[in-house]
């Protein structure tokens, strides 16, 4: 079992579905970080089988809506002086704005430049999002979310 030191002040993003950690790592821009970041993949988990974990030795601004959209299973723990000061359980947001784009070529967002891409959660059970303009179901593209 690999050991990673506990952090003094920062954020732990836990219970990431195995394989999605890299998307969160990229979304948070951690490849350019000047502070210590541990990205641990395929950690054994009783509940999830395997999971990914990110440990960030710094307090950074996080958009929980976007993170919840990428992976609603995530738990975020905020640590200060080696103590847990806040624990946040994420869930699927009702709306997502400016994060993903509609793939329907007949959608107005394909031609109207100033329109902000907006999606709403149409089925929580199936985690289905639809475009607020044309109601097309969101189909993830490899490069999204940015």
């Amino acid at each position: 079992m690999m050991t990673i030191n506990a952090i003094k002040k920062g954020i732990v993003i836990d219970h990431i579905t195995a394989g999605r950690g890299i998307r969160i790592f990229k979304y948070l821009g951690l490849d350019k970080a000047k502070f210590t970041v541990a990205f641990i993949m395929n950690v054994p988990s009783v509940k999830m089988g395997t999971k990914d974990i990110l440990k960030i030795e710094n307090v950074i601004d996080i958009d929980y809506t976007v993170l919840g959209f990428i992976d609603p299973n995530i738990t975020i723990t905020v640590i200060d002086e080696e103590k847990v000061i806040k624990k946040i359980k994420l869930s699927l947001p009702d709306r997502v704005e400016g994060v993903i784009s509609c793939s329907n070529p007949r959608c107005i967002t394909s031609i109207e430049q100033e329109v902000v891409q907006r999606f709403y959660l149409s089925d929580r059970k199936r985690a289905t999002y639809r475009c607020e303009y044309c109601d097309e179901i969101y189909s993830p593209k490899a490069q999204e979310p940015v």
């Binding site: 107005i108 109207e112 089925d123 303009y133 044309c134 097309e136």
Partner: protein, 309 residues
């Protein structure tokens, strides 16, 4: 309160608001002269980025019959869209001139963009691609209410292309909100209603429905038959098309099996899915339906402008 609102999706209206619009439309049908000056001094902008016969003429006639004026364009090439102007900018400009706008645009969701950029002018979606066409749904509802006297406890048959027909989806979703209705869905396997209508609207709402492949097997029980066109190119194979094509053509022979008070509706234009011989049958209501479309648009314009007669 409908004054100042936009109408983008038929689901934007509550049952009570639908009743309010239909009631006013029925009052206009009874006493049209009482409403002939209701919109005097008001201007409707018809912004049609693609051709339309019924919808545009119906909107324009509706405003003229209310004593108002009409401005607008009937194709994108005669507007600044041909120079690359966005829908948002067009609406911001038109709002300076008109009191209310009806817009048809080939892109889905365009009406929502228009509404979001209009601060005071109500925007009516007159069709946004294959997406919504709320005034067609209101037209269908007014026709049913006028000719059947109710929007409840009806057996509603929908025949033809139930997969791509936006008017069909809107009508099912709206009539499913009224008590006691059941649906008979008649289509080839390739053109059945989308899963979300079957699962999220009908099954989840506990609304009774049956599916048929042939019209002649289903027609006897219907109070309303809503016909749509089945296009050859929608079929996956030629054999199925040849086997089934006549099942979706309503003729006098099939009509013999129908109830004497059933009504036949069609959003028009009709191509060959209703034989011309059916036009003289008293149950054929599709041309009256076009007229009701004008009345319901008159009522809607009045409601959104908040004018009384």
């Amino acid at each position: 309160m409908l004054k100042g609102r936009h109408l983008i999706d038929p689901m934007d209206l509550s049952i009570e608001e639908i009743d309010e619009v239909l009631e006013l439309a029925q009052r206009i049908i009874r006493e049209p002269e009482r409403f002939s000056s209701a919109c005097r001094g008001r201007i409707l902008a018809t912004l049609f980025y693609e051709p339309s016969t019924r919808t545009r003429l119906s909107f324009e006639t509706a405003m003229l019959r209310l004593g108002g004026e009409v401005i607008g364009f009937s194709e994108a090439s005669s507007s600044s869209a041909s120079k690359g102007e966005s829908v948002a900018d067009t609406i911001r400009t038109v709002e300076c001139y008109a009191d209310i706008a009806a817009m048809r645009h080939p892109k889905e969701g365009s009406a929502r963009v228009a509404a979001a950029n209009s601060r005071t002018m109500p925007v009516i979606n007159a069709g946004d691609g294959g997406h919504h066409h709320p005034t067609q749904t209101l037209t269908d509802l007014l026709t049913i209410r006028e000719l059947k006297g109710t929007l409840e406890d009806l057996t509603v048959g929908l025949c033809g292309d139930l997969k791509f027909g936006r008017t069909v989806h809107s009508l099912i979703k709206t009539l499913a909100r009224f008590r006691g209705n059941s649906f008979t869905l008649i289509s080839p396997p390739e053109l059945k209603v989308p899963d979300y209508i079957r699962d999220e609207v009908l099954a989840r709402g506990g609304i009774p429905f049956v599916e048929y492949e042939r019209l002649e097997n289903a027609i006897a029980s219907l109070d309303i038959l809503y016909m749509t066109r089945v296009q050859r190119e929608r079929f996956f194979n030629e054999d199925d098309y040849l086997r089934l094509k006549n099942s979706y053509i309503l003729d006098a022979e099939k009509l013999k099996k129908a109830k004497s008070d059933m009504i036949v509706l069609h959003p028009l234009p009709r191509v060959n899915e209703i034989a011309v011989e059916v036009d003289s049958d008293p149950r054929a209501a599709y041309f009256r339906q076009a007229k009701y479309g004008m009345y319901v648009r008159m009522a809607l314009i009045m409601k959104l402008l908040g004018v009384e007669a």
